[in-house]
């Protein structure tokens, strides 16, 4: 599987920003148990662009929440930057969510009552940054995503693509190492979706971020370093986009 990694550093050492070891998650509803994850192990390398694919109900979102520190596994371990997140108290967990990971959602999840710039400065406020510095940094990030002129607009006044850009700007607020995007193009049309994908690629190259996306978008899959397939709570396959191309061509050829 080693050959699948691209951008391996010179020393040849594996620098894993996220490690999941035999992660299981069981949901209990009365007497019945649902095994959303049945033992998933995955290492994500620093600077990697990873895509997670799987049908709905496959445990993809659950796995996604686990590696983002949004949920704790029933069994197994999740390490973010070599820290076992199960060991963290609520204050440390909040600190981690605030500074280590940037979250991007399918439905943008901007705070509707706040303007664009206030949405971006909110995580900075949580991190204890003073409002003047936060404002400057937010304007800088908005410039980077191409929305500097929309700083004072409310989310409701913007298009889907613009809202997702604000969400991306917000996720970058505290300069995280990891960007987690749950179907970031799912609610966008083709062209806007492509713009967002370009933005991801650009940010990743400029800032050296590790990007993990859950997606069905073929264009996103093509840009990624690895594609992980999850089915029925298990990883069924890890492949490179080149291999996938062949498969898709085969399916198309039938």
């Amino acid at each position: 599987m080693e050959q699948l990694f691209r951008g391996e550093n010179e020393a040849g050492k594996l620098d894993h920003v996220i490690r999941a070891v035999d992660v299981r998650k069981v949901y209990r509803m009365g007497d019945s148990e649902t095994h959303a994850l049945a033992g998933v192990s995955l290492d994500v390398r620093r600077g990697e662009y990873l895509s997670i694919m799987g049908p709905s109900g496959s445990g993809k979102s659950t796995f996604f929440n686990m590696i983002g520190g949004l949920d704790k596994p029933t069994a197994g371990k999740v390490y973010i930057d070599q820290v076992d997140i199960a060991q963290l108290d609520p204050y440390e967990l909040a600190w981690l969510r605030c500074r280590k990971v940037g979250y991007i959602f399918q439905s943008f999840n901007l705070i509707q009552v706040m303007s664009c710039i206030e949405n971006v400065t909110l995580p900075m406020a949580f991190a204890g940054m003073d409002s003047e510095t936060a404002r400057e940094k937010a304007l800088d990030i908005l410039e980077r995503v191409g929305l500097a002129d929309r700083a004072l607009h409310k989310p409701a006044e913007m298009s889907g693509g613009q809202q997702q850009r604000v969400a991306i700007a917000r996720s970058l607020a505290n300069s995280p190492d990891i960007l987690l995007a749950d179907e970031p193009t799912g609610n966008l049309d083709l062209k806007t979706g492509e713009e967002i994908i370009n933005l991801f690629t650009k940010l990743r190259e400029e800032l050296g971020l590790t990007v993990i996306t859950a997606t069905h978008d073929l264009k996103m899959l093509k840009r990624s370093d690895r594609v992980v397939w999850i089915e029925d709570g298990l990883i069924t396959r890890v492949s490179s986009p080149e291999e996938m191309n062949i498969e898709i061509a085969e399916i198309g050829g039938e």
């Binding site: 909040a94 600190w95 605030c98 999840n109 909110l122 406020a125 949580f126 204890g128």
Partner: protein
């Protein structure tokens, strides 16, 4: 690897700013919640105001009743006051009721009204020996248990030696005079009636307290329900904030501040409505001048402050459970919900 730090709590002012903005944006539903508080506090304030007005007005009424009673005794002894020669002696401190009584007597235009120990426009000052000359009735007022004059001196020269006294146990220099008939203004019956009135007032006050307490509890439940709805509505927002690094403490604070502000605004409005409405209604029942002049405004201010504090605290108490629900939410659950 960088060590994991601990997230710091956001200053209260930042939380307040965010809470205020939340209320402003969701003005419609905030107003509905506020109106719940307004109703409860208006009811509380209206009862407090009514109590204050009744106390003031009843003092006024009680005085009028007392004066009426004294006047009726006077006319029973001498007939019409108008055109009579009267005398009054005051020993010790004169009460407001007694002063009002003297003033009423003066308004009835007696032919002469001599007075000892009391100076008032219309009264003719006299000494103990000149007081009784030609008078048909002598009234003895004031609270002193012993009078520094002899009854025979005071009544010297009176046409009919009748004395009306307010204090039953009052002793006079030289003891009682044989030829003087001394009657009392207030007998045993008057006292019994006052005690009965006081007991009726007590049971009435208890009943009102009970109704007010129930209405306040209803308000608390209403506010709690509204806030719980508001939490459900904001599941996604709360989840997002948690993803961005908000502490549970911050979320709890957000809801507590919001409810405190709602409580404060609601109570202020409630106090204003309750007080004005009650004063107007009592103004129509009695007289406006009577209501507005007799009210003890210090007590009104105290009642208003109490009601505002009560409303704010109640509203915050109502927020404890909803705030906990919001704060304890796991971000993953919050994001999954599509409410």
């Amino acid at each position: 690897m960088e060590a994991i730090g601990k997230q710091v709590a956001l200053p209260l002012r930042r939380a307040a700013t965010i809470a205020v903005r939340g209320i402003r944006i969701r003005l419609g539903r905030s107003l509905v919640t506020v109106s719940g508080v307004v109703l409860g506090i208006a009811f509380l304030m209206s009862n407090l105001t009514a109590q204050i007005i009744k106390t003031a007005v009843s003092a006024e009424q009680a005085q009028r009743q007392t004066v009426d009673l004294m006047m009726s005794l006077v006319s029973a002894e001498t007939g019409e006051v108008t055109g009579r020669a009267l005398a009054v002696a005051v020993f010790g401190e004169i009460s407001d009721d007694e002063r009002a009584f003297v003033a009423r007597m003066l308004r009835a235009r007696p032919a002469s009204f001599r007075a000892l120990g009391l100076e008032l426009a219309g009264l003719t000052p006299a000494t103990a020996s000149t007081l009784g000359a030609g008078a048909s009735l002598l009234m003895i007022l004031g609270n002193a248990p012993s009078a520094s004059a002899a009854l025979s001196d005071l009544t010297a020269g009176m046409t009919g030696k009748v004395v009306l006294d307010t204090v039953a146990e009052r002793r006079f220099d030289g003891g009682p005079a044989a030829d003087v008939r001394r009657e009392l203004f207030f007998g045993k019956q008057a006292e019994a009636r006052q005690a009965e009135l006081a007991s009726v007032a007590r049971s009435e006050r208890f009943r009102i307290t009970w109704i007010v307490v129930v209405s306040l509890l209803v308000t608390v439940v209403t506010v709690a329900n509204a806030l719980l709805m508001s939490v459900t509505e904001r599941f996604r927002e709360i989840g997002t904030m948690k993803c961005l690094g908000a502490l549970s403490k911050f979320i709890r604070r957000l809801f507590l501040i919001e409810s405190a502000l709602i409580g404060l605004a609601g109570s202020l409005l409630g106090v204003l409505t309750g007080a004005l409405l009650t004063m107007t209604i009592y103004g129509f029942t009695y007289r406006f001048s009577l209501v507005f002049f007799s009210i003890h405004y210090g007590w009104m201010l105290l009642a208003a402050c109490g009601a505002v504090a009560c409303g704010t605290v109640m509203s915050m108490a109502a927020a404890i459970y909803p705030a906990r629900v919001a704060a304890r939410m796991v971000p993953a659950d919050a994001l999954r919900s599509t409410v």
